[in-house]
């Protein structure tokens, strides 16, 4: 693996290898001494052109647990916002002595562009690009799901995919890099995906995606799903005519108390997932977010393990 740009680039074997390595990484984080020396002397740069404290600290923790040095480069309020190009910024990092670049960028494809050009010859990790992809988020979601299902079934998660699991991804699919990355990875790992959203928040052209598409959250919940992935609805969508108002959105597409009660009454083992940060009361109610079904905090913990596995794979040799 040279870069981690899109989950569409991962074979099933590679994806499972990352999840398996992440299992070991997660185990190591339960020890008294959490640090591993694998990347000692290597430098990982977190190059963030967009604010995302959560993702940045998760990558930072992952790199530090592997003993890498971490340089955080926030492009906001720096020379970049004064017109310095991505190329110049990247080459500056190379000159500083970076060994890998974790990049968050508001433009779809910016990490792929960085990887495809001769600007720098370093491994690139896409930490979220525009409305394109966020592969480590999808990996941590798959990791969480695999682990939870193994726990439920009393088996070991190692070496397994997500075959036969039913996952509904609910909300602002159009603007969600998490939805795209999850779609490809869940497919690769054998899960069945249903996208649930108002038609205005589904991309034109999504009809060719390898998933079912529904406008009816209640029908999808009633059909029985192993996990509901609730996506964040961003505030700026309110004023752009995607839906009339927050109340109507949560009435039709929010995981509210009534739908939580419906899940509980049906005896379903459905997990509730959310990439965070949550808009409580909009796409997810507090009761749903805090219910025993919720994996929200587990996802955060697993995020560090998955990012450790990703950095480890990129900064060591090819996978056997």
């Amino acid at each position: 693996m040279k870069h981690l740009l899109s989950t569409a680039d991962l074979t099933r074997e590679e994806a499972i290898a990352i999840l398996d390595i992440a299992e070991e990484m997660r185990e190591s984080s339960t020890r008294a001494i959490k640090k591993l020396p694998a990347l000692r002397g290597r430098t990982v740069v977190n190059l963030f052109f967009e604010d995302s404290t959560r993702t940045r600290i998760s990558f930072e923790a992952a790199a530090k647990r592997l003993s890498a040095d971490v340089i955080n480069f926030s492009a906001k309020g720096s020379s970049v916002s004064k017109g310095e190009s991505l190329k110049d910024t990247a080459q500056t990092l190379l000159a500083i002595g970076a060994d890998a670049v974790v990049i968050r960028h508001p433009d779809s494809g910016a990490p792929a562009r960085l990887a495809a050009t001769d600007w720098i010859g370093l491994p690139i990790v896409n930490a979220g690009d525009g409305t394109h992809e966020h592969p480590t988020q999808a990996l941590l979601d798959a990791f969480t799901l695999r682990r939870q299902v193994a726990l439920r079934d009393g088996t070991s998660p190692a070496g397994r995919g997500l075959d036969g699991l039913k996952v509904a991804i609910v909300g602002d699919i159009l603007h969600s890099r998490v939805a795209r990355s999850n779609l490809w990875l869940l497919n690769t790992l054998g899960a069945e995906v249903t996208m649930v959203a108002p038609p205005t928040l589904l991309p034109f052209g999504a009809g060719s995606w390898p998933c079912a598409i529904s406008y009816d959250l209640d029908a999808v919940i009633a059909s029985g799903v192993d996990a509901l992935m609730m996506l964040r609805v961003q505030g700026e969508r309110m004023n752009a005519a995607y839906f009339p108002n927050p109340r109507e959105y949560s009435r039709y597409w929010g995981l509210d108390d009534a739908r939580l009660a419906q899940l509980d009454a049906s005896g379903a083992e459905t997990l509730i997932m959310h990439p965070g940060p949550m808009n409580r009361g909009l796409e997810i109610s507090s009761a749903a977010a805090d219910s025993p079904r919720s994996t929200v905090l587990d996802q955060v913990t697993n995020g560090v393990a998955v990012r450790m596995a990703s950095l480890y794979m990129l900064l060591s040799g090819d996978l056997i």
Partner: protein
């Protein structure tokens, strides 16, 4: 390589029976050095060090008074993240580290591996061990010592000293992993 062809000068240096005999001797050496089984912990280094450690533990437990559970003596120590060649070799998937219930704090830990060669694996194992606790004594038992050390490391218990050329390959096959028990040398001139 054709499946039916025999590798150039592949030579069996230990048969399955030889391995059994050698392990029995090493088990007794370990007990003797430790003056019994108290505080003893055998940690195998993946992948073939672990079944060797299990076999040694079974022998050692059998000599102890009462019903000593071999599983209480044995564990596995993963060293993948401690290797000094991560940058140059292919990516290795780490294995779990499993310590016996009593842990390793203040114990006599015997690291068990199949082949002792450059010593770098053992260097990594000592680093890994330090992150898990502080044993009272650390010893090293190996099935084969083939020489060519690159670090000041030596084994306390050696099944067989095997003079080799650097161009040769020593292959250890264990039934738990490989379906058969033998040690062969390949590529000898």
């Amino acid at each position: 390589m054709n499946e039916n062809s025999v590798p150039d000068a592949a030579r069996t240096v230990l048969t399955g029976d030889d391995i059994e005999r050698v392990l029995t001797r090493v088990a007794f050496e370990i007990i003797e050095a430790n003056k019994g089984t108290d505080d003893l912990v055998l940690l195998g280094i993946p992948s073939r060090g672990f079944p060797l450690a299990q076999r040694l533990a079974a022998r050692i437990a059998a000599t102890a008074p009462g019903n000593l559970d071999p599983a209480s003596l044995v564990g596995q120590l993963d060293i993948t993240m401690y290797r000094d060649d991560l940058r140059h070799s292919t990516t290795r998937t780490p294995s779990p580290t499993r310590l016996p219930a009593g842990g390793i704090e203040g114990k006599v830990v015997v690291l068990v591996d199949d082949v002792l060669y450059s010593g770098r694996t053992i260097r990594a194992a000592l680093d890994a061990l330090a992150d898990w606790g502080r044993p009272r004594i650390v010893r090293l038992a190996v099935l084969v010592d083939r020489g060519h050390r690159e670090l000041p490391i030596r084994a306390d218990h050696v099944g067989k000293n095997l003079p080799t050329a650097k161009s040769e390959k020593v292959r250890v096959h264990l039934a738990e992993i490989d379906g058969k028990n033998e040690v062969v040398i390949e590529g000898a001139a």
